[in-house]
């Protein structure tokens, strides 16, 4: 090293940093919303409302879930083509985070700081979204209808801008647990669950209903294990060795599929009970068929018990399903028409209702107020819980069972649960479901 080069080193550090960052700065800060009379908030112009989301378009959670955002966008397009909400169209910017929390942070900061979105809508995933709720609330950005049933989103004091949407996993765990207790009395139960708030909330719900003596083992899995040579074979071998006759699985679809195939490989034939988010039969059949080149498919799903709070996609008589199918065929015909599409459209519809209720010139606060006021009715067969004190969404589910072709049928009436702990599980009140066309902006 010559002395000359070491002398100039730091000078160049300073000069270089300044030049390059300066250049970066000059290219930066394209302004926020325009200054039209109706630009009432960031992301709102006279003719548009821009909202954003982080979604697993790639990665372990992509099978199935990657359809949700396009489906929501299709619903928004349908509403936009019908005149929008208060004359504004909804522009939906969703970005891929690969179900990787580190990416979620980057993507959400980009949406909030650079794209200046009005709100974050339907950000998907427990491990992912939990890393941005603090940030969004500090920045006072509405964080509506998180696509996850963890209980984290229902904390109005700490996170006044965050709202859940689907029934939380505790509710689901409770109702599934009660169903197991009543319908598979005396059988040994084993749990398989994703090792985060998604799985743990589900386990808490199950534990509140099942006798501890019937639960033989609880096995957590990590999504990264799905990509390892040994997969989750160790967990299922243990459940098999412990003599589990029922396996309750709080898992994403890819993990459910791997569990089913592993069971096949090791000769383990328990009754499967799978949480709503991991049991979409179209997604699972696709995964199983792909994994085994058609050697196995829907027949592995035969008898699988799960639950739903939306109409069954196979129920073509339901006006919502008719409408969703119409929107699907028009805007996203290349995607399968399955539970994920239904989910995306339903959540988008609730968002449109909230935006509609937020008034002619919506602000971030008026949007929050509108959701807290609640009273939304849509495709869901159970009521929402939204209020000033609760930011939780749907309050219950209905048990379903799949047959050997993967077709679901309802096994029970809808149940709702009264509270988050050991509170009772009651039949859902009637009239929770709305009709397409109740809201002027959505023409069936």
């Amino acid at each position: 090293m010559t002395s000359r080069s070491s002398k100039t080193r730091l000078q160049l550090v300073a000069v270089g940093a300044v030049l390059t960052l300066g250049a970066a700065a000059c290219g930066g800060s394209s302004g926020g919303g325009g200054s039209g009379s109706k630009a009432s908030a960031p992301g709102v112009t006279a003719t548009t409302v821009t909202i954003g989301s982080h979604q697993p378009l790639t990665g372990p959670a992509a099978p199935g879930y990657s359809e949700i955002a396009p489906a929501a966008e299709a619903m928004f397009k349908y509403i936009n083509d019908g005149g929008g909400i208060h004359g504004r169209t909804i522009q939906y910017k969703y970005k891929d985070d690969g179900y990787n929390p580190a990416n979620t942070v980057d993507v959400v900061k980009q949406l909030v700081l650079q794209d200046k979105v009005f709100a974050i809508f339907n950000g998907l995933g427990t491990p992912t979204h939990s890393k941005v709720t603090d940030y969004l609330n500090q920045s006072r950005v509405p964080d509506l209808f998180v696509a996850s049933g963890a209980r984290l989103w229902d904390d109005p004091k700490k996170h006044p801008y965050t709202f859940g949407w689907q029934p939380d996993y505790l509710i689901e765990g409770k109702i599934l647990g009660k169903y197991i207790k009543e319908n598979f009395a005396g059988k040994k139960v084993g749990y398989l669950y994703q090792n985060d708030d998604f799985g743990k909330d589900g386990v808490a719900g199950l534990d509140s209903q099942l006798d501890a003596s019937t639960v033989v083992d609880k096995q957590p899995y990590e999504t990264s294990q799905l990509a390892q040579p040994t997969g989750i074979a160790a967990q299922l071998s243990t459940l098999k060795a412990k003599g589990a006759e029922i396996v309750v699985s709080f898992s994403i679809p890819a993990a459910t599929a791997v569990a089913l195939l592993t069971n096949l490989k090791i000769g383990f034939k328990p009754q499967m009970v799978v949480s709503n988010v991991g049991s979409d039969s179209t997604t699972l059949t696709g995964l199983l068929g792909k994994f085994s080149k058609g050697a196995v498919g829907a027949q592995l799903l035969n008898g699988l018990v799960s639950d739903s709070y939306l109409p069954l996609t196979s129920d073509t008589a339901d006006p919502w399903i008719t409408l969703f199918k119409k929107i699907h065929d028009k805007y996203i015909p290349s995607l399968p028409f399955d539970g994920n599409v239904e989910y995306g459209m339903s959540a988008a519809y609730t968002f449109a209702q909230a935006l509609d209720a937020a008034g002619d010139n919506p602000t971030r606060q008026s949007l929050i107020d509108a959701v807290e006021k609640g009273g939304f009715k849509g495709p869901g067969v159970v009521p929402f819980r939204f209020s000033k004190d609760s930011h939780a969404g749907y309050t219950g589910v209905r048990i379903v069972q799949l047959d050997g072709k993967g077709v679901a049928t309802f096994k029970s009436d809808a149940s709702v649960t009264t509270d988050e702990t050991s509170g009772s599980i009651d039949p859902a009140p009637g009239g929770a479901q709305g009709k397409p066309g109740d809201d002027a902006f959505l023409k069936p």
Binding site: L10, Q11, A14, A24, A25, A102, D134, S224
Partner: protein, 361 residues
């Protein structure tokens, strides 16, 4: 150019004073820069700050000492998790202390890795550090109760100090934190490079046998270089935890390790100035890729992977065509402006020289 000549006189002739003076100058400029740009640019600048620390650390190891590491992403992970676990407590220690502990813990891990590394050469060292990078994230799943598995940990960092005002953008505050760390790191490393220790690093890099004959303890020197480099990675990791507000294994993939290496190679191995360019490139690439794909409506798959292609191409092109990297090019330009042939001064820092650690020799 006047800046460059000014430094040769007066108190600035002292290396430490000169480095400090430029750090202060850089700090002042960055203060004004961060205060004028948008919050999103501040966020990017905060990212540049920790990448500078990481890339500079690897530059010392590979450029000055001739050891390669594909495991620096994993070392950053050690620092990040240390910070996250310390900040998780009810009464967290001051941030400075937390970051120093991140440095200390990672340096300790670096000492372990370095002790093994000192006995390995070239491809073997690369392979072993790659195994480290691939394997370490598995620990978070195995000890999920402590490390939170794939879910990771939330990192609680308080808002900016109140005396900056309630509406002070948190991104700017974070940029200040990482830039301060980066400037301090650069001053320390620049002094190290021009010190006796730095000379022994280079001596070992250039020829181990001669270095040994000259009374340098080769293995000890290599371990020391690894520790210093790991300490930088640990600091960078602690800073990522603060900027990102979370730690999770997905953030510390093999791709991170390789992009840090790409940043160091791009900047020209052995040059701290180059480390700054490398770090800036690492932050700008994804956002350039993002705006390019917006403009040309490329799919997200293309958008996500474009930076990888560029890093890979850079590694190959730099090795095949311009082993001095970007900084070599800049120096050559300065050299030309001064009417000197710069080639001799650049040669020492080229990878061609680094590679004298051929195991077969």
């Amino acid at each position: 150019m006047s800046v460059l000549t000014l430094t040769r006189r007066g108190p600035l002739a002292n290396t430490l004073v000169r480095h400090l003076a430029f750090a202060v100058l850089g700090g002042v400029v960055l203060f004004f820069l961060t205060s004028t740009v948008s919050a999103y640019r501040d966020f990017q600048i905060a990212n540049v700050g920790y990448y500078v620390v990481a890339v500079a650390g690897l530059t010392v190891l590979t450029g000055l000492n001739g050891q390669i590491s594909l495991g620096h992403g994993a070392l950053m992970m050690v620092g990040a998790y240390t910070a996250a676990l310390l900040l998780e407590r009810d009464n967290p220690l001051p941030l400075v202390v937390v970051l120093l502990l991140s440095v200390a813990v990672t340096a300790a891990v670096g000492a372990l890795v370095g002790a093994a590394a000192a006995r390995l050469r070239g491809p073997y060292l690369a392979g072993a550090t790659l195994a480290f990078a691939v394997g370490l994230p598995g620990l978070t799943s195995h000890y999920a109760d402590t490390f939170g598995g794939d879910n990771g940990l939330n990192v609680l960092t308080g808002p900016p100090p109140e005396r900056l005002g309630l509406d002070f953008p948190p991104e700017r505050w974070q940029a200040w934190i990482t830039l301060t760390a980066a400037l301090i790191t650069l001053v320390l490393l620049a002094n190290l490079a021009s010190s006796r220790v730095g000379r022994s690093f280079r001596a070992v890099r250039d020829d181990e046998v001669s270095a040994e004959l000259a009374g340098i303890h080769v293995a000890r020197t290599q371990v020391l270089a690894f520790i210093i480099s790991a300490a930088c990675a640990g600091l960078a990791g602690g800073l990522t935890a603060v900027v990102s507000g979370q730690v999770s294994p997905g953030a510390f993939s093999v791709a991170l390790s390789l992009s840090i290496l790409a940043g160091a190679v791009l900047g020209g191995l052995g040059s701290l100035t180059g480390a700054v360019y490398g770090a800036i490139a690492l932050v700008l690439m994804p956002s350039i890729s993002s705006s390019a794909s917006d403009r040309f409506t490329l799919s997200t798959d293309v958008q996500h992977n474009l930076p990888l292609l560029v890093y890979g191409a850079l590694l190959i092109v730099v090795m095949l065509a311009a082993p001095q990297g970007l900084q070599g090019g800049v120096r050559r330009l300065f050299g030309l402006l001064r009417g000197r042939a710069p080639v001799t001064s650049v040669r020492n820092e080229s990878v061609t020289e680094v590679s004298v650690t051929d195991p077969e020799r």
